[in-house]
């Protein structure tokens, strides 16, 4: 049992898991470039992956690739848990040093950041390309709704090279092209804001993002409506992990390489 624990927490397993992950990701990059699988990746972007995995029309091969990616990450996670467990007790018993403790903390934070990332794929909701005209309402969950109060599209006809097509959000001045959107909870308005490119509306874990406009006499807005309960957790832990790495580097800058090459405490 102890030998298995040693193997599961070894650096050799870390290296093996990382090499497999790199190969797996390379496979994903190739699949993404293939016209057969590209629509599948686009579909992954449009919805939560917990729902996407249940779509019968999606290709089995792409689903298998995604599940394989998750399994590789799970292997790295098991390795992280066993390695940290062993090192944690070693740290308490002997060799307690700031650099080692800090590196252990960075590893813990990495684990939680990865979990936060994965949670973003699985929990909450996500709707992309929701097209709404002024006054229309979208209900992403039974208890709350999103209403487009006003649309101002001033520059649509001036977008170069896109005559007759929908204007690109990148070419529109956000100060003159925006939508006013409100969020209501159980019929009561809780937030109202002007949305423009790079200025979304946030209310708790919910977010309404302006993705574009459709041109015409009665223009629509294209919205992404999402809720990610793990987002705040992820956004706080990520910079803490970076700060931990920076502090560790500052402490070990002058130490010799034999002692500093190992990332684990």
């Amino acid at each position: 049992m102890k030998a298995l624990g040693e193997k599961l927490g070894s650096l050799s397993l870390t290296t093996t898991a990382l090499i497999i992950l790199l190969l797996w990701l390379s496979g994903g990059i190739l699949l993404n470039a293939a016209p057969t699988f590209f629509p599948g990746f686009e579909s992954m972007n449009r919805t939560l992956l917990s729902e996407w995995l249940r779509f019968p029309q999606e290709r089995f091969f792409l689903k298998a690739w995604f599940i394989g990616l998750c399994l590789c990450m799970a292997l790295l996670g098991v390795n992280l848990i066993f390695c940290s467990w062993r090192r944690f007790f070693n740290l308490l018993r002997k060799n307690f040093g700031a650099a080692r403790a800090l590196m252990l903390l960075v590893h813990f934070l990495f684990g939680f950041v990865a979990l936060g990332h994965f949670s973003g794929f699985m929990f909450g909701y996500r709707y992309e390309d929701i097209r709404l005209a002024q006054g229309q309402v979208f209900q992403p969950a039974p208890d709350h709704s999103i209403k487009v109060e006003k649309i101002q599209l001033a520059d649509a006809s001036r977008t170069p090279g896109r005559l007759g097509r929908n204007p690109s959000i990148f070419d529109l001045n956000p100060r003159r092209n925006f939508a006013e959107v409100s969020i209501s909870e159980e019929g009561k308005e809780i937030r109202r804001q002007e949305l423009s490119f790079l200025t979304p509306l946030r209310s708790g874990a919910r977010q309404v993002t302006l993705r574009g406009f459709t041109a015409g006499s009665d223009p629509d807005v294209v919205l992404a409506i999402s809720s990610n309960p793990a987002l705040q957790f992820f956004l706080i832990l990520y910079p803490l992990m970076i700060a931990g790495m920076g502090l560790h580097l500052a402490i070990t800058w002058r130490k010799n390489s034999q002692r500093t090459n190992s990332p684990t405490p």
Partner: protein
């Protein structure tokens, strides 16, 4: 092509070529003069692009490589010694600068067009962080390459290895800072911090590769050489992916 900017680029290419040539000849005084001249010229070119375009010069490969070369050159001046030997860390660094300028031969020598989002803090931080991370990883590669050269002669030389590791970790930190800025940018613009596309998958590839370099097992000279080889390659991986993301 903006002509004054293109002329500036070719002059800088020539200047850095001379710097590398003088380094290989061992003419250190002249090398120092040309290095300062090239770096001042590089700084002026970046300032003029900033002035002409109205944005921080990081929005196309031409601009971001000029910034990378500037950061790489300045850090090399501060953190590497002038060695009387022809081959030292600085030799590798100047060779890397020539490679960057060589890549730019295939790209338009002009500034990126003005966009409404190019003054957004997260967008700027993402691009600046990437340029700086690439510069520090290239410096780390210089140290690792130097370690590999001298470790064949003596086993006690570990300063380049330590410096290589330090700058690779610093480059990784800057890369993560730029990724974090990219996450916030993506969140504000697309409503999510991850997209299943080449850009995001290749960024994850870079991060996993860096993790691999830092987690190679073992101790002793073989492990040190493995760390040096994979560490030196990290900048090539980053550079290759950066170039592949920017079609000429």
């Amino acid at each position: 092509m903006s002509e004054p900017v293109a002329i500036g680029y070719f002059l800088l290419f020539l200047c850095f070529g001379l710097v590398l040539g003088l380094r290989l000849l061992g003419w250190t005084r002249l090398e120092r003069v040309f290095t300062w001249g090239a770096l001042v010229g590089n700084g002026l070119l970046l300032c003029s692009i900033w002035f002409l375009s109205g944005h921080v010069p990081v929005f196309n490969l031409f601009e971001s490589f000029l910034l990378t070369v500037f950061i790489l050159g300045m850090t090399a001046l501060i953190f590497t010694d002038v060695s009387p030997e022809r081959s030292c860390t600085r030799t590798w660094v100047w060779a890397e600068v020539i490679v960057l300028f060589g890549v730019l031969l295939f790209y338009p020598k002009t500034h990126a067009p003005e966009r409404f989002y190019d003054k957004d803090l997260y967008v700027v931080l993402f691009h600046v962080g990437r340029a700086a991370a690439l510069a520090l990883m290239l410096l780390a590669s210089g140290f690792y390459a130097e370690f590999l050269r001298i470790s064949r002669r003596s086993s006690s030389q570990e300063d380049p290895l330590r410096m290589g590791r330090n700058f690779l970790v610093l480059g990784t930190i800057l890369f993560l800072v730029s990724e974090y800025a990219g996450i916030l940018w993506c969140l504000n613009g697309w409503g999510d911090f991850w997209r299943w596309n080449y850009g995001f998958l290749s960024s994850a590839f870079i991060m996993l590769y860096l993790m691999l370099v830092f987690h190679l097992p073992g101790k002793g000279s073989v492990s040190e050489r493995m760390t040096s080889i994979t560490g030196a390659m990290s900048s090539l991986v980053f550079l290759g992916i950066t170039v592949s993301r920017s079609a000429p």
